[in-house]
């Protein structure tokens, strides 16, 4: 910061002041409790470039930029087995105050599919920071221009809808939506989000479930039409697209982007992280991250986050069990 120059703007000054006050508040309590006193190990249970990886890197940047975490932070991608490897490692750090990890849909679905030693309820919840939601979209060749027309058509003639994987939020969200909207459909699972998009463009599918970041380029180019959104509020790029909740057909599930500590983490660390994350979610850098990745902003802390995870898990398990996809 160049104080010798006179050009510090009012806005810059305001940010500076806010940072100083909030920063003091946070570090003030932290110093009293001698936390953090050691380097931080962030476990990312997926390869670089994924949703968990980007969130962890943004978070680490903010924690260092605002001097919130005064010790070094290392980000470690421990990928493999749909998260089993990374969260398996994290589970073994029980009691540690200096390990954190991020959540995604897989932290709920992977234990439903394989014998993992850990379960989501083993970890110590800190905060839900955002949700990754989905768009129901059709090709621009489709006869349907609105969700109402789509539902009406679907009731008469069950559509073929593509998504990513089966034991995944894509399928669960559209299944819950269809149940509330009163139509049946054939679901075609793909290995990745781009795969289902290719299939839609080739005319093989009637509709797909996909992430807004993946779809919005196609929507802007007039190749696809977004009909409905699973999240609580539609991202700016998809303005005018109704949320499923506004239609009274809220699927109520999402991919939770949250922060967790290992099992039996010290209470002092949990309190520090909850307090710190309350500050982080209000920073402009975090807001920028939410906007550019088209996430839905929603924050829940501690027990509220825990309850959210339990509800999500119940909805996942019920839907998958009803479809015969898990035991």
């Amino acid at each position: 910061m160049s104080f010798h120059k006179t050009g510090l703007t009012g806005r810059g000054m305001a940010t500076l002041a806010a940072t100083a006050i909030l920063g003091f508040a946070v570090t003030g309590t932290a110093q009293a409790q001698d936390y953090p006193a050691q380097p931080l190990d962030m476990t990312v249970a997926f390869a670089p470039g994924g949703g968990n990886d980007i969130m962890s890197r943004v978070l680490a940047d903010i924690l260092q930029k605002y001097d919130l975490y005064t010790q070094p932070i290392s980000i470690n991608n421990r990928s493999g087995g749909s998260g089993a490897v990374g969260w398996g490692y994290f589970y073994n750090q029980a009691g540690s105050a200096y390990d954190v990890s991020s959540t995604s849909g897989s932290i709920i679905t992977t234990p439903l599919q394989a014998d993992t030693p850990w379960h989501i309820t083993d970890f110590t919840p800190v905060a839900l920071l955002a949700t990754d939601d989905l768009v129901l979209a059709v090709s621009s060749d489709s006869p349907y221009t609105t969700i109402e027309e789509f539902i009406e058509g679907a009731r008469e003639n069950p559509p073929v809808i593509g998504g990513t994987g089966t034991v995944n939020v894509d399928f669960i969200a559209i299944a819950l939506f269809a149940e509330k909207a009163g139509f049946e459909f054939d679901y075609v699972p793909f290995n990745s989000r781009p795969d289902s998009q290719t299939a839609l463009l080739s005319g093989a599918l009637d509709a797909l479930m996909n992430s807004p970041g993946q779809v919005v380029g196609m929507v802007e180019a007039g190749e696809m039409r977004a009909l409905a959104y699973t999240g609580g509020s539609t991202p700016a790029e998809l303005e005018g697209v109704p949320t499923m909740a506004s239609l009274g057909m809220d699927p109520g599930v999402s991919m939770p982007r949250g922060l967790i500590l290992p099992p039996d983490a010290p209470q002092e660390a949990v309190d520090w992280w909850i307090e710190t994350m309350r500050f982080v979610v209000d920073t402009p850098e975090w807001q920028q991250y939410i906007a550019s990745n088209m996430l839905t902003e929603i924050t829940l802390f501690g027990d509220d986050f825990n309850e959210y995870i339990l509800n999500t898990e119940a909805a996942f398990a019920n839907t998958l069990r009803a479809g015969g996809y898990i035991d």
Partner: protein, 506 residues
């Protein structure tokens, strides 16, 4: 001309000193990761991706893309020298590359593969420059039915290629298909043959199997023959003075192969999901069908190395088209590039090239220079790599074993994959001993799941009717091309040979 002003603008971006630096760094890293078995383009990009966080997107994409196509140059070096393909796209290069090295022609083989890679890469970039929008239409017509037919095309050309010992080849392919069934069944979400292991729910990865079957299999076989007891490796001979540069004959014989391989590779590369493995296989089988001496393939024929090499580099360029024009990646490596686009705040999709022309054209222009840089690096590096052959085998073998293990572990940091690699090594040794085909195993492992998943997707979409394959224009085209490839071409060749034999006897 619009294209040329775009390209010139791209050149000015790509030629800034900073971007040239990143380009050369990317090319070097790409070559190096390509040489280490298992540590292919996807792993190389993933390794350097965190470094690009907060970097200028153009510099970042120039570097990561150079790693991507640079790895295609490096990957063949071990395929030729150690019979160990580092990636599914270089399996077909072992067919004639390794026999060439065994015949004492390692130098010419390495130089020709660099030339073929350069040709494939450069032809690919020229086609991207001129025809990207046209080829994006090809991408757009491919859905599950087409992927199934394409996988069948790959499997059928594989069967044609196995040729001679078809029983053993067929058993090998079946082993590959069986391994491909492990993991979560995409359609039902149920685990198959995972025995509760979380590490196996993603299926058996290609890399540990390929490294085990080829690399370790070859290693064990060499011990079996007692190579380690001899002072200097006589497995491969090499004469620096007289036998480094290719002969004029090598170029003349393969000039059309270069062009055909590059074009074929590019077109197949444009289709997301098909990629370098199918491209190099199809190119190899086309060359074998067109050759006057098909019996020399598999025994060290230069055309048999040049074709798949031109094709896999053509395919890696071709794969850039769906990524840039539609935001759809066609392979594991381009999928990481796409994730990187999102991370840098770009919005992939049909408007990327118009909304971010400096980015798109800077990348395209950098690929011209990247291929030139890689050709130069290769020519200088080849004498160094060939020195490997001077190392006594008893010293080289443990190093190869360690590198193979590290390469396998680096992909997913998985212990189970190391055991898979070791088991595949023992199996590979047996296969070598009894004349089975390791190539058929690994290619079936790649193509089997693609065929299974796309067929089941197709039948869900058509609600059980096979008529869908005849309803879709693109499907019909693939069926016609497959028939030409596996029936018509071999028949013409057979008739031609009969006619020639008839003449010579009379």
């Amino acid at each position: 001309m619009d294209i040329f002003s775009d390209l010139l603008m791209g050149m000015s971006v790509a030629l800034s000193p900073v971007n040239i630096l990143y380009l050369v760094v990317g090319a070097l890293v790409g070559m190096t990761v390509g040489v280490i078995p298992g540590f292919g383009p996807a792993a190389g990009i993933a390794l350097l991706l965190p470094v690009t966080f907060g970097m200028d997107p153009i510099s970042a994409v120039v570097m990561l893309s150079a790693i991507y196509y640079g790895a295609m140059y490096g990957g063949t070096i071990t395929a030729i020298l150690l019979n160990t393909p580092g990636d599914s796209g270089t399996v077909a290069s072992t067919f004639d590359g390794y026999p060439l090295a065994q015949k004492g022609r390692a130098g010419p083989a390495l130089v020709m593969q660099a030339v073929a890679s350069f040709t494939g890469g450069t032809v690919g970039v020229i086609l991207i420059t001129l025809l990207a929008p046209l080829f994006s239409q090809v991408t757009r017509s491919f859905g599950p039915p087409e992927y199934f037919l394409l996988a069948m095309m790959g499997i059928l050309t594989l069967v044609v290629m196995i040729g001679g010992n078809w029983r053993l080849g067929l058993i090998s392919a079946l082993i590959g298909f069986a391994l491909g069934t492990v993991g979560v069944d995409l359609e039902t979400g149920r685990s198959r043959y995972t025995f509760g292991s979380a590490e196996l729910i993603g299926g058996i990865n290609f890399i540990p199997v390929a490294i085990g079957l080829f690399g370790l299999g070859e290693l064990f076989y060499a011990f079996y023959r007692g190579i380690h007891k001899v002072d200097s490796s006589d497995m491969i001979t090499y004469d620096r003075k007289n036998n480094f540069w290719p002969k004029a004959q090598d170029f003349i014989e393969t000039r059309f192969t270069l062009v055909r391989g590059s074009l074929l590779g590019f077109v197949i590369g444009v289709i997301p999901g098909a990629g370098a493995a199918i491209a190099s296989l199809v190119a190899y089988s086309v060359e074998k069908s067109l050759s006057r001496n098909p019996e020399r393939f598999g025994k060290g024929e230069m055309a048999g190395l040049v074709a798949p090499e031109a094709a896999n580099n053509g395919a890696s360029s071709g794969a850039m088209i769906p990524l840039l024009t539609l935001g759809l990646p066609g392979s594991a490596s381009t999928a990481i590039l796409l994730a990187a686009f999102l991370m840098w705040g770009l919005r992939p999709g049909p408007l990327l090239m118009t909304q971010n022309p400096e980015f798109a054209w800077g990348l395209i222009a950098s690929m011209y220079f990247g291929n030139m840089a890689l050709l130069t690096i290769s020519i200088f590096a080849i004498p160094v790599f060939v020195m490997i052959l001077k190392i006594p085998y008893r010293v080289l073998a443990p190093v190869v074993l360690v590198i193979c293990t590290l390469g396998t572990f680096s992909v997913n940091s998985s212990h189970i994959e190391i055991y898979i690699m070791l088991a595949a090594g023992v199996v590979g040794f047996m296969m070598r001993l009894y004349g089975f085909s390791p190539a058929a195993v690994v290619l079936a492992l790649v193509l089997g799941p693609l065929a299974e998943e796309s067929l089941r997707q197709t039948l869900t979409i058509s609600r059980g009717s096979f008529g869908i394959f005849l309803d879709r224009q693109a499907s019909v085209w693939i069926i016609v091309i497959t028939i030409v490839l596996v029936v018509v071409l071999p028949m013409i060749q057979l008739i031609g040979r009969r006619a020639r034999e008839g003449k010579s006897t009379t």
